[in-house]
């Protein structure tokens, strides 16, 4: 089944709008209702977006796991902005959540090495209270081979 490209981008935009508003993705049923599509159409569209690396699906293929920089599941990188909590996929994405939202944010991050936590404020476009570093595990050429391991 081929999904019209316009439908793919409408769905992608919806996913991002809902992530930004709530910190979580919608269920397939909700996406179908909003876009006036069947659930099968949404599933096919999601799979196409996944193949394009526009979003990444859960293992069963029936939900959105990641829409970078947002994560649908808890991670060591929590971002709070305007009363909404978000999970970011990695240390870079915790900054990406703020960049995507364009709003002041507070980041609570946990260091992988020893489970200590740090708080980072992003205020008026400036990062404050951030003595750490961001470590990329994989070189750019491998980023999309296994994004969850990047």
């Amino acid at each position: 089944m081929t999904v019209p490209e316009a439908t793919l981008w409408r769905l992608r935009h919806l996913i991002y709008q809902v992530f930004a508003a709530t910190g979580q993705p919608q269920e397939i049923t909700q996406m179908a209702n909003v876009l006036h599509l069947s659930e099968d159409d949404v599933l096919h569209a999601l799979r196409s977006l996944d193949e394009m690396h526009s979003v990444f699906l859960t293992g069963d293929g029936r939900g959105v796991l990641m829409a970078n920089p947002f994560s649908a599941v808890p991670t060591p990188f929590r971002v709070s902005a305007d009363g909404v909590d978000y999970w970011a996929n990695c240390a870079w994405d915790m900054l990406g959540v703020h960049a995507a939202l364009g709003r002041d944010a507070t980041i609570h991050a946990t260091y992988a090495a020893d489970d200590t936590t740090t708080e980072i404020q992003v205020v008026n476009g400036d990062v404050e209270g951030a003595p750490g570093i961001v470590h990329f595990q994989q070189p750019f050429r491998a980023w999309y081979d296994d994004l969850s391991h990047t």
Binding site: M52, G96, A130, V134, F136, F140
Partner: protein, 53 residues
Amino acid sequence: MTIGKAWALAKVWYYDRLSPEFHRRTVDEALAIFEELGLTGPFWSFAGHTPTP
């Protein structure tokens, strides 16, 4: 990299992510962003990429 450098990269990488006009960056566009931020060298190169089967 420092948080400051990661923030600079995040801003240019993600600022338009919520836009309905967003398009995924090409490899060349990504490389241009890296170069502008001084991220050069083999780690930031696409040379040697092998597509996942």
